[in-house]
């Protein structure tokens, strides 16, 4: 995209149901280019579902989503274009276990962008170096630690040169000693100006990196504010309760 729309992501009036259960209720959220959003909330609050709607891993039933000016509708062309703009990192990494780390990063470029193998592998090594594990390129995901796997997953997403990165609880499945290496990688990415939406319970990360913290509960956005205001002077009782419960 050569033109810069004022919004990287524009969500308005978003509704989503699982059967008769409404998971997302009238969500409005706009994300500016380069903005870093942290989404938090108790489990079942709909935060993962929200970001999974953005690249249509989940289908929404009401409201609208637009990514870099492309509206997410039934057009497969638009969906394809949106998935080019948006990278995603999953809680359980979802690396391809039958492929080496290098192949994990290279094959998607070949399959979805029609890149030449050599070019794709160069790109793979570039981003593996960036997440500081180029020496693991020939190993299989099962041979790496959780933290290393998640960094490979970040490199794999970056290989598609997305403009926006979605992180769905990227550190929740990690052993505690591996959380830092993944968060450091994400901080470095944030410092380069990547637009990011991060669903996480890492409040230290939120305080340090986020431009805005969004608190969700029962499918609604309860409160969204700058981190200092959000953590130090939360306005809503539900936010206060949640913060009290996770800060122990």
């Amino acid at each position: 995209m050569t033109d810069h729309p004022s919004c990287a992501i524009e969500i308005s009036g978003l509704d989503k149901w699982y059967g008769n259960f409404q998971v997302l209720k009238n969500i409005d959220l706009s994300v500016a280019p380069g903005e870093r959003i942290v989404v938090c909330g108790p489990s079942g609050s709909g935060k993962s579902t929200l970001i999974r709607c953005i690249n249509r891993l989940e289908e929404h039933q009401g409201g609208s989503i637009a990514v870099n000016g492309i509206s997410l509708n039934d057009s497969l062309k638009n969906l394809d274009a949106i998935r080019r703009e948006v990278g995603m990192v999953f809680q359980h990494f979802n690396l391809f276990p039958h492929l080496t780390v290098r192949e994990n990063c290279a094959l998607p470029q070949i399959l979805s962008r029609g890149k030449r193998r050599k070019e794709a592998e160069e790109m793979a090594m570039h981003f593996l170096t960036k997440v500081r594990i180029p020496e693991q390129a020939n190993k299989f995901p099962g041979q790496l630690s959780g933290g290393q796997q998640q960094r490979v997953a970040i490199a794999r997403a970056l290989c598609m040169t997305p403009k926006i990165m979605l992180f769905d609880e990227p550190t929740s499945a990690l052993d505690p000693e591996m959380v830092k290496e993944v968060l450091d990688t994400m901080v470095a990415l944030a410092e380069e100006g990547m637009t990011m939406i991060v669903v996480t319970h890492e409040m230290g990360f939120a305080r340090r990196v986020a431009d805005r913290v969004v608190f969700m509960e029962t499918g609604e956005i309860v409160e969204a504010d700058k981190p200092t205001a959000f953590f130090d002077t939360p306005r809503h009782a539900r936010t206060k309760n949640f913060l009290a419960s996770i800060m122990h």
């Binding site: 690249n55 891993l57 394809d80 998935r83 080019r84 948006v86 990278g87 995603m88 999953f90 359980h92 979802n94 690396l95 391809f96 276990p97 039958h98 094959l107 998607p108 399959l111 979805s112 962008r113 299989f140 995901p141 099962g142 041979q143 794999r156 997403a157 598609m160």
Partner: protein, 365 residues
Amino acid sequence: MTAIDMNPPIGHIESPGPPRPSRRSLIRLFFGDFAASCLTVLTAALLISMIPAVNWAVFDAVWTTDDPSACREGGACWAYIAAKFRFIIFGVYPPQEQWRPLLVMGLVLAMILASLSPRLWGTRLVYAWVVAVAAMLVLMWGGVFGMTAVSTSNWGGLPVTLLLALLSLGLGFPFAVFLALGRRSVLPVPRLLSVITIELVRGLPLVGLLFVASILLPLLLPAGWSIDKLGRTLAALTVFAAAYLAEVIRGGLQGVPAGQIEAARALGIPSWKAVWHIVLPQALQKVIPPLTNTAIVMVKNTSLVLIVGVFDMLSASRVAATDPAWPSPYVESYVFVAMIYFLICFGISNYARWLESRVQARSYR
């Protein structure tokens, strides 16, 4: 060597090592309690009861003779196998042309050896197999390059068994993949077609399918049409293999986590490419043991074609045994054929075990 080197490291405690089995524990192993004693006695009885069979097969056996009447003693007549070896292996294929099926078997062996390492798996190997199978069929048929034509009704023995097993599995496999994917499709038409095909074929015994293919099919075809009997038999075996392989592959597909497809979608990989490159390889890796099982069953199922008059190795051995010159050596025939089947199936099973350990070693901790 200095004295210092011999000092154990600080904190090292001499370990007594694992306890050694003593004579007493051996007695306990065999006669420790009532169940163990019973098993020991039963096993001993079983071994003793096998003595006549061993005597028959080894000590009283006639190994070499040109005179069939020498075989009337009560021992196994292995000389008969030596005399009928060619017939059991090649059937009624013209003797002066038997270098052709021999070459076919060599080609099969060479291709299998070349396909063992997964490192060589790829489109090139598929093309090589297509060319090799074409060459095998040309060799068997003849009629070109100065080879006399041999009709399929004269094909026989081990080459027929090998060709039927290879082709039914090889042709059935791609069908099976489509059936398995179809059965899991969200689209109703492919799903329904797959379910009907799989359930219909699995609901019929193979013998029934073979009869349908060899007797009913020619009646149903319009006049003037005819398909070779061996071809019809192969079609029945292929459909049968496809239905069973499809269910095995479906099991593998179900074992691939949903996150894999989600990751592929998030990366913008078109869905059929994701199925081909991401889902199928993982699904197949997961079902190596049941795939092996189906392959082994199919190798042995080829022996059923004898009931529709196709001359495979088992048929050949039965015909060989009807030679009145020899004193009805059916048991020897069957033992010999069983050994060949065993070698093939044991080979497949060992290869599959190696393949599985290789996959596990590199992918999972």
